[in-house]
């Protein structure tokens, strides 16, 4: 029988614990976030924290907390919070950003080459405390000397949580959020305010923050003409039906050449057949596939 994880047991090399693999698969199935074998130790650590809080001794028992007990939904949310804790920082997913610069932007620029207005519109859906939209703003500003010369950058950043949005608007960040910043970006786009760093006005000017509930259909239809949507570690909290609804909105909100990006190890498998997975160097993204025409399901 599997015992509660301790630092000693996690340090041991060994085949993946079947109970942990079962938990991994449950999380992937319900939330769409996958822990490959080399991240199982991290997952065990996160489960360990929840097990301690619940006074649960074994992974098998904890699996029941997530599947059988009346509080299973709340527990899944608590576990997902543990899993994504500390994920929010500037330049969180560098390969994704490199792929954006190297492959995705040139494609968007080519698709819009004949349009009179040179404008790129990005939506950071579930922007939390703002690290993602600011990162995108800085990254794209760097491109305005090259491929985005004379382009207008418009970033819409939305979140449900007003406190997160208020924080985002102060643009003030501590050492944890800014741990991935290179000296280049730190010097060029930040000023020191006491012990914190604040994003400079130029990088803030491209962004409009607003409160939005992704389940609010009436407002979702107004998010129009987008080239890029980022929605990282947000849909993991939605049930399948709500996820599908949000994804359908994203599909409609994107221009035909648009891209949809999720968090690292997050997938749309089983959620949408309209979006197509594409492989970019070191990252994955989704593009709009052909619309289903008939009423039947198409594989």
């Amino acid at each position: 029988m599997t015992t509660a994880p301790t630092p000693a047991s996690t340090a041991q090399e060994g085949p993946p614990d079947p109970d942990l693999v079962r938990l991994r698969d449950l999380i992937y199935q319900t939330a769409g976030i996958f822990h490959p074998d080399n991240k199982l130790r991290l997952l065990l650590d996160r489960c360990g924290r929840r097990m301690k809080a619940l006074n649960t001794r074994t992974l098998r028992e904890y699996f029941e907390c997530l599947t059988v007990r009346p509080t299973k939904q709340a527990e899944m949310v608590a576990l997902l919070n543990e899993i994504t804790i500390g994920e929010t920082c500037f330049f969180r997913n560098q390969p994704q950003l490199d792929a954006l610069r190297q492959v995705v932007l040139p494609k968007i620029i080519a698709a819009k080459a004949k349009l009179p207005i040179r404008r790129i519109r990005i939506w950071s859906a579930g922007c939390s405390t703002g690290e993602e939209p600011y990162t995108l703003s800085m990254l794209l500003m760097e491109e305005t000397k090259g491929q985005l010369k004379d382009w207008t950058i418009e970033i819409l950043a939305t979140d449900l949580n007003e406190r997160s949005l208020a924080h985002a608007q102060t643009a003030l960040y501590g050492t944890y959020s800014t741990r991935n910043l290179t000296p280049f970006y730190r010097q060029k786009y930040f000023t020191s305010v006491e012990t914190q760093l604040q994003v400079m006005p130029a990088a803030r000017a491209n962004i409009t923050f607003s409160r939005l509930n992704l389940s609010d259909d009436a407002r979702m239809i107004f998010m129009k003409s987008l080239d890029l949507i980022f929605c990282c570690n947000v849909l993991i909290y939605f049930d399948l039906a709500s996820k599908r609804r949000v994804i359908q909105h994203f599909y409609n909100n994107l221009l035909p050449h648009g891209y949809f990006f999720m968090g690292h190890s997050e997938s749309l498998y089983g959620v949408s057949e309209d979006f197509h997975l594409v492989h970019l160097p070191g990252a994955t993204g989704y593009i709009k596939g052909e619309r289903r025409t008939g009423g039947g399901t198409q594989l």
Partner: protein, 301 residues
Amino acid sequence: MKAAPAPTPIENLRKRMEGLRQIPTIPAVLAPLIRYIQQPVEQLDVQKITDMIAQDKSLAAQCLEMANSPLFGRWQKVETLRAAVIGLGFQRVGDIAMSCGVLNLLPRDGRGIDPVAFWEHSLGCALVSRHLARMISFPDPGKAYLAGLLHDIGVIVNLWVLPKEFQEAFQIGRQESIPLHEAERRVMGFDHCESGRFLAEKWGLPADLIQVVAFHHTPVQSSDQTGLVALIELSDLLCRMSGLNHGYVEARQVDVQEEPGFAILAEKCALLKQFDWARLTFELDSYMDDVHALVRTIYRK
């Protein structure tokens, strides 16, 4: 008098290859070993296989090293070849012996290409091919492993026979972030599929593996009826788009379902139509650390 037509680049290569004494050869023990392992399991003998591998001392040592890697699903340390054969099974030990054997084929100076990166790609492709094969119920995952391992042996030929030209092609590939075979064609007039075919034939590899070596970038042209070539095209592509590339990333976008290999393989394996490519991509991530560690250990010996 009419001048004879100038030989094509590939004819030139063939000529140079024939004149070259140092054509890389697979270790002598491997061909009989691979043939032996193809027999039905009940006819196989642990001692016989152990003896075959032990004939080549350095190969035997490398096999043990690899047998202890988590990549081969072994969590308790094996100390002897015999224990490895018993613990891992004949097929796995054959895979390991073949992997170690081909790992020694690149010139150690690298000649402009990082041999570690090259073998990481080949070993990665072998593992990903086997994994994909299992997931879609492809009939022979062991063959998929071998095919993934050997698909790029043309690179070895190019390095031995035309080191300067190949180096130039590799640099162009890296600088422009384009696929290696495109850069090779531009610089040398042919690519590693064509040169690999020579070597595969010279080594006397089975016909299906020759098809993989020759057509893994153009599966439509292959006469393969099993889907093996298409399977390798797809896993090669996934590896090249991830950290298991040749030492640089290609700046492009790949939609696996639009690849020629996808349609071919989907005809053979119905499960491919609903396959979760995102999950395979995340799983591939977890191979990376182990592949890096293993190739580095073996190569630095």
